[in-house]
Symmetry: D2
Subunit: 343 residues, 4 copies
Amino acid sequence: MYSFVNDYSEGCHSSIMEALQKTNMLQTAGYGEDEYCAQAKEKIRRALKSDCEVEFLVSGTQTNFTVISHILKPYEGILGVDTCHPEQHEAGAIEATGHKVITVPNVNGKLTAEAVEKTLREHLESPIMIHTVRPGLVYISNATELGTVYTKKELTELHEICRKYNIPLYIDGARLGCAMASKECDYEFSELSDLCDVFYIGATKMGALFGEAVVFNDKKLAENFPYMKKQRGGLLAKGRLLGIQFSCLFEDNLYFKLADYAVKQAQRIQDALIENKIPLLVKSSTNQVFPILTYSQQQIIAKDFGFELWEPIDDEKSSVRFCTSWATDEKQVDRLIEALKLI
Amino acid sequence: MYSFVNDYSEGCHSSIMEALQKTNMLQTAGYGEDEYCAQAKEKIRRALKSDCEVEFLVSGTQTNFTVISHILKPYEGILGVDTCHPEQHEAGAIEATGHKVITVPNVNGKLTAEAVEKTLREHLESPIMIHTVRPGLVYISNATELGTVYTKKELTELHEICRKYNIPLYIDGARLGCAMASKECDYEFSELSDLCDVFYIGATKMGALFGEAVVFNDKKLAENFPYMKKQRGGLLAKGRLLGIQFSCLFEDNLYFKLADYAVKQAQRIQDALIENKIPLLVKSSTNQVFPILTYSQQQIIAKDFGFELWEPIDDEKSSVRFCTSWATDEKQVDRLIEALKLI
Amino acid sequence: MYSFVNDYSEGCHSSIMEALQKTNMLQTAGYGEDEYCAQAKEKIRRALKSDCEVEFLVSGTQTNFTVISHILKPYEGILGVDTCHPEQHEAGAIEATGHKVITVPNVNGKLTAEAVEKTLREHLESPIMIHTVRPGLVYISNATELGTVYTKKELTELHEICRKYNIPLYIDGARLGCAMASKECDYEFSELSDLCDVFYIGATKMGALFGEAVVFNDKKLAENFPYMKKQRGGLLAKGRLLGIQFSCLFEDNLYFKLADYAVKQAQRIQDALIENKIPLLVKSSTNQVFPILTYSQQQIIAKDFGFELWEPIDDEKSSVRFCTSWATDEKQVDRLIEALKLI
Amino acid sequence: MYSFVNDYSEGCHSSIMEALQKTNMLQTAGYGEDEYCAQAKEKIRRALKSDCEVEFLVSGTQTNFTVISHILKPYEGILGVDTCHPEQHEAGAIEATGHKVITVPNVNGKLTAEAVEKTLREHLESPIMIHTVRPGLVYISNATELGTVYTKKELTELHEICRKYNIPLYIDGARLGCAMASKECDYEFSELSDLCDVFYIGATKMGALFGEAVVFNDKKLAENFPYMKKQRGGLLAKGRLLGIQFSCLFEDNLYFKLADYAVKQAQRIQDALIENKIPLLVKSSTNQVFPILTYSQQQIIAKDFGFELWEPIDDEKSSVRFCTSWATDEKQVDRLIEALKLI
């Protein structure tokens, strides 16, 4: 049995494990005031060609609610798509900090500039405006929950609308590496410095044991953020663990190499699905693929491979998810492709 | 330069590092649904000789606010001493979940049953009771912030008052191992099952990279706690990291052995201080010691050793803290003791 | 110009004004501990033929967030229709207390038992249940935002589902009087004691200056509610103002008489609309009616009457709302009916 | 039996009752968008000789938590004295909005500039600053909980410290009229425009049925406040009730005349106490006086007069509070003075 259930089934890339081991008995300052964190921040700034502010946190949900509750006023909410992580899979974490998640329908997992403008305009023009929640931040994830990736044009349009209404654009980058590795991605990593106001570089799903790096392109948004890290539980006593891991990932482009590998494996699976005329819920360009399989097809595959049930389609079939990562065994992908041919 | 600044300057005990390495490429279920977490919970239950509920979280502040906000009603607060961690060092984390921290003066860092009863009685007898915050949980830490340890009699009295008023007693065990290793500790680890309603076994400061294990003696208090872990950011995708670490620590009593070592080293320092007639802020029986040093004495020691400034006494002197851990180098303790003789 | 914009354009019914005046210089205890509050609670209990708990609050939004945040656990949300007041018109008040508003599509403004069961079942059956918000209370308003009224069968089915899943059913009764006066209402006021777990009797829109009376059929849900009233800002120093007003409204069935009057006037308007073949957004049976008028028709009516724009239909027309109340001038209704004939 | 228990035992001043009656059946816009609110705001601006922003709310606790949660960042708390209302008597309302109440000892009920500066400096100089709560607003009440009044020098010094640290100074004016009527008050009402950044003019205890007017001297602090009024439950549908009442109070200096009367009556009582050598807890200059009476003295007075138990002194005596208001009957004060002579 080999698992394609998710991209966090294994530990971390060997170079990270080695670095953790090598540094294990060194004494450093606590709470991220160590040299490894400083180094990692510097490497990220260099990769982004930007003098941005970088802050490390532990997990994705924690990153979302800490950043969002730091930026919003108490009467503001975030605006995202109906399928977005804070709406669907964070157990009400944003609301627990006092803020509404306002949603609009997704288009292939994405938020459109039109939908954002319509929502913002409707709010401002409403005669009962103060009885409704003011959108105070636009939330997108890249790659999206459906494995799709924003184009440069799409990000630029979103950012322009946000600027017009003076609202920051935030990118949840839990799988940002995979977005960058997608063939649909027509921009460099460093261009993210201009394409949004704040984003995070996810590492939990991209080769680390855990860890997310928040990048504040707009440094004003970072003001006093360290208080929030502490208050919201994201400040590790041994903060260096985050510095060491990100330092590895941003050495010699490891982060992007691991992403390339993960995306390549998933795309091999998707190509095989297409070749075998198996329908897709959505065409993904990253490390998650979403075939629609009958329940009997699923039973066959499930003998040898783990995957995730996604959403029911009808009584006979549902979409499922196959997920790859930096840790995926290429030979198991070969085996899966063979198995898919036979169903 | 050798640091006695805190007990989280290094990584983790070698057996944990080895276990992390050995399991690194194994595939497991996410979010703590793996066998390592199951094993670790079972080992903790065995050590406690109890059928308690065990839940893992990442850091101490996160554990405090997640447990406390899970237990309290919106109109309740916690009751602790003025020096307690949530009051002093958690950046308002408890208040951020909507709850007041009600404080009474500490006695050697400890909360007394008398003070608890007085506060609870005053609340209940107040003619304007509903205008004041109802204490809904009694918070203590063991060892305390001042390195002192509750006796069995003290815990029993506190627990009795809590039961009388139907309020749970919660022990913050960030340094619980050190409490158990103290010569003042006149109870077994397993007796904690009866001495309080919920507590946590701290690992961040006791040999792990990170991690705290919440033990619900009163299993009703644990109901639906997993939602809270997710909502408050404490549910790691690679949850097994917590299982692996606690499984090591509760194998062959490692947790307690590491604590014994840490306490032994600190007590050697404290003995040397007493021998040299250096006054103490408080007599500690655990891994933190608090001499009062003149600023010129501090300058001498600071040439070779790191320590923490604690509180100013007057223009000439202050208390400082020397902290040891499982990782402390015994030879460096020897050197420190020599240095203390010369000031 | 006469306003049909809403049902809170005037002050209060004359009998309330007289009572306020008559009692003005009497000395009473503060914070609702006075005899008028006691009397009013007793009258409400008598009208409901029930030994329920009654608590007074000031306004509707305040009542909703105070009751809801009192009942829910931190990881729970409320379940309501997409058009419900907390979702649309309370400026994020529920979320500000930490809770998500989970919505399903409305059917004529109403929530169906099927939709509730589907949502509850999906939550419980979800493999990632703890990553989603647990519905902890079912919220409906009666009359609804669209002026429609739940039948006894509908309420019974909703309540059964709620009981099955052990979740309270809460009725927002901002316009409860009008619901009771509706010809669609096939139950007595006192039957509300069995048809839900908690509801509020709205007075702001039903003859009082302000005030809402929360009725806890399930008295366990009322436990310690007075702390919440204080904490959430709903405890008036001169709490008797609420007692005096509700005492008037529940004397000699005044509350229901005023509602009958309001509904009768609105239904006269709706009958005239139907007679004149003017389409309706929804057929209302209470004090709000929702014709669809072209913008040129609206211009004509707007010369003499105020009304509220509801929702745009297309470039030429929109729905609008005419609202009546206990204070509506019957002769102005006559005039409006005449005017509607001419458009 | 005549009550001196508090200053909210009666309804409202006759001129307010008349205005409510006279305007009762007029139709106005809802939610404070009416002409009476506009008028009242204008009158307050004129009295303050300032172009400030004015917003109405319903009650004192609501005003405190709405203003404070509007101004603070999530990682900030308020700084006040240990006896301040949010710390002692608001059921954790500030904490329920996520913020800590940081306290320092009071001096005659007052906060000193020294204590403020010390706290702010300690926070900024702390090596673990981000682990502690950042003071984000200085809270005082005037008159204080003990009936004392800030001098111009005291307010000026507090405001200077606040400006130095870039933190707003907020005055809770539940009894602001009485402060202005005090002989210790050496500034005009209009000077409050410069002596703080935001304050509220309490009316609940000063002649109205209910109502508090928040004055934002610093208009930037008022930005988007209406959303908060709605979200926190302070936006009355019949908002005009607040406009009508404040319009009366600021017509022909009624507010100040009522305060003068209340203070005069209380001072007569205090003078009598002093004359009879009855010790005082504190010397008040406003409408509350705090004699220390033996329990047997209290029994005698309690036969004819209501008063409030304040704090126990020892087994034989306690302080008590006599409170007067605009509604106090002068003849009853005469009777009380006579009674005090005989104990």
